[in-house]
Each structure stands twice: as C-alpha cells, then as structure tokens.
Symmetry: C2
Amino acid sequence: MNWKLTLAYDGTDFHGWQVQPDRPTVQGALADAIERVTGERVLPQGSGRTDAGVHALGQVASFRLNAPIPPANLHRALNRTLPPAIRVMGAEHAAEDFHARHSVSAKTYEYRIFRGEICSPWLARYVYALNWPLHVERMLAAVPLVVGEHDFTSFAATDPDLTTRQAEAADSGDDSDDGPETDGPGNVRRIFASELSLRETDEGELLVYRVRGSGFLHHMVRNLVGTFLDVGRGHFAAEDIPVILEKRSRAEAGATAPARGLFLDSVEY
Amino acid sequence: MNWKLTLAYDGTDFHGWQVQPDRPTVQGALADAIERVTGERVLPQGSGRTDAGVHALGQVASFRLNAPIPPANLHRALNRTLPPAIRVMGAEHAAEDFHARHSVSAKTYEYRIFRGEICSPWLARYVYALNWPLHVERMLAAVPLVVGEHDFTSFAATDPDLTTRQAEAADSGDDSDDGPETDGPGNVRRIFASELSLRETDEGELLVYRVRGSGFLHHMVRNLVGTFLDVGRGHFAAEDIPVILEKRSRAEAGATAPARGLFLDSVEY
C-alpha cells in the first residue's frame, strides 16, 4: 500500500530533512517511527529536502508498507512515537503511482521576519529578527518581479555539492533544497506568486514573504529574501531584480537569509 | 548602583535558573552576559529558582554594578549578548535596598495545558499536551479551594535536597522553586488567587491555570496542577482538596505536572 503523510516540524534541532549517519534528521526520525510502529524499514521520500534549521507546516512524504493499517491508526501511532518537534498532520492511502517528490505540481514557502524591538524567546526559533530600518515599499515593488519563468542561477546555492545540476545528473532528484526537477531544464523555474505582507500574531507584527512556484533551487527562497532585504536597506533598487536574474551569477544577488525564518508551507499535487 | 532586570526565557535548554558547573543555566548565562558587557563579574539574584524546563515571562533579577551605565544601553547590550532564548524585557536602576528575592511581595505563575488532538511543534515546548477526557467543571470547583493561608506540605517536593526547611536552615533562601521565605514559617504560604480558564491562541485552545501567592514551595505549582488534573480525571473530588491540605503529606496529592507547561508570569514588590 502506498502512503502519503503531511508533516509539520520544527527544524531547529535537526540536521535537515535528509537522513545522515549519526545526526538527527527529520527523514531519519520518521523512518525510525514507521519501523517502530509497523516493523517495516522504509525510507520515506519527501517532496524535497529542507536544510538544517528550516521548518515545515506541510511537508509531504510518501512510502510503501506491506501491513494493512487504517490511516487513523497509523496517524495516531506515529504521533505517539515521533519526537514532539515532528507531527503528522495527515495520513492517507495514496494512488499507486503517487510519489512525494516526482508528483509535485507546486510548492509554497513562507519566510517570517520579526520587526519589533525585542524578539521573545518563543518566537526566536521561528523568525529572522531584524530591527534595522527597511524601506518596505521598495521591497513591495521588488517582490513581484520574480514571478514568471526565469533562470534563477543568481539565486541558487553555489556549493558544488548541492547544485541542482549535479542532483539531476545523479538522478537523486533530492539534492535541491526543495524540489522536483520537472519544471524546466537546469536552473529555470516558474514562480506563480511572490508576495510580501504584514501579519499580526500573539507575539507581535511579522513581515511575511510567501512564494509559490513549480520548484525551487537549493537556497533559492533564502537568497530571494536576502536580496529583497537588500532592496529594503537600499543596497539595490527594485528595478535591479530583473538585472540580477539576467546576469545568472550568484555574486550579483544578496546574502542568504537565515534558515530559522523559513517554512515549507505546503505542497500541491 | 543597584539594578533590577525583568527577564523572559525559554527554559527548555537550560538546567534551571541557578548556576551550576558545566551546565547551561539562566543565571549563569546572565552573569556571563553582564561580565561581557561591563567587565564586572556579579552573581545576579533571581526572585527565586525556576527548575529545568520551566519558563519565565517576568523573572526579576537584581545585582550591583560599579560602572555607571544608562539603563537603555545596558538593556540593549545585554540583549545583543544573551542567547535568543533569554531576553531582557526591562532594565532599571533600583533602590539601594532592593533585592530580587528578599523584597518579593507576591508572585504569579501560569500553567498551560493543550487539549487539542495534535500539538504543533511550535507549542510542544510550552504546554502539557493532554487529550484524555477531563471534567473541567470539577477542576473549576477544586481550583479556588487552595486560596488563603495553608500549610502546603502535601504539595511540596519531597526531595530532601530541595525542601524549603533545609534552604531556610542554610539561609540560602534560594532552594525553593520560587521563593521568598518571608510569608510564614515552614511550609505555610498564602495564596491570593487561583484560577482556571480557557484561552484562545493562534495554535488552538489552552486550559490555563494561574496562581498568585506570597511565595511557593519547590514544585508546589506543578503539584497543584497535577492534583487538579487528577480531579479532572475523577481520581479525586473537588472536596478532597481541603482534606489533602490537612493531611500534610506529599503522598496524598497528585503527580507533579511536567515542567514545560509552567511559566513564572510576574513578580510583585
């Protein structure tokens, strides 16, 4: 039987999604929990990697089990077994050809920036706290300029171990931060929506960036956020965004924003 | 110059308030930050200990510094130096005779219980997640029965290293979970208010217990909560609370509720 799980996790204390020897990872913790519950050792496939410190509200994982288990029972048993930092939000039987990564049609990421003076201890793990002045109007002008199909080389991680091209060559499909490699060749991706807004929470006001796309290169969302923040600080103008895209060079864009503000919000199939 | 700081902290990753060799503690982290900022080594006195895993919204600490520093500067510099899990919420000059523990007139604690089916990863560090059925009306009847002056021996930790009596004998005054020993002899304390309520949050509904008193014995709030939960489960009736108090024996009351749901809310002087 093929399974689809939807997962929320606090990435702070994990070395990312992908299983690694002797380090706590989300994929590893999930595989252990599935084995403890069912007796079957499987490697759940995620919709894509998330890096160390990146959180998820709706990561999706798929795997096959031989034992017939009602979804509600697997759901409850996994939540009793997993560490509290990982929660199964939904568990369902999936079509035989469903694959959490290969079947993706779109993903949405969210990046949270705290603008207040004192970032509370309960918020600190989940936001980038940043209280220098920002020209938010300029950021609002810059953010939509990445919508559409573009070559995002300027916003891709330069670490050669982690480039999408290598991942594709190896057919692991799992070496980009978050993604299916079905949306175009090389570093071309399609962004459907790119929005910045203010959100009131119990802990104060957040500046929230949300981006929905066909797929994302490794570090792409964090590099976009770092660049939009450079627009807010006046290092770039909004009109520089198309120029940066055009140059296809990582050196042209801004710094990588910290992992702790990033959430994989949801995955569409 | 005498100083008064108000502190919020996430206690999850600290071995409690009180400084210990080779273990991260809140008092130790604060002493280190003060030294790094001012060059002066002091041991800040808290309003009382909090145990490992217990949080604070408004812990108060006092200490003396020779260097003349404007409060706003010390405030900002400490928040730049402290780990994000500890925040200085207020910094002010205090009267010469102010002492964070000896001067306490009342303290308020809050205990948070999550009743939903899935406790999100962002809430898990800060609540006791408990989804068995509870007779909340019975708990509402039990909770006010501890108001007034009582001998709380039945609700005090039995660990002999941590009893208030020993702490008083040693004149450390710092060996109770939270408190000044000025409110009465032995294990007598005065409770001004004891209330249970429901609170809506971004992450779902919480059952919140708040208690305000002259002082508290070690583990007293967690033992009260554990006992009120036993009332909710039907192990005790509300009317058993006065009987349990009367017996002055830890064995009569319920279990100690987990540290992670407990917050030192505020301290009055």
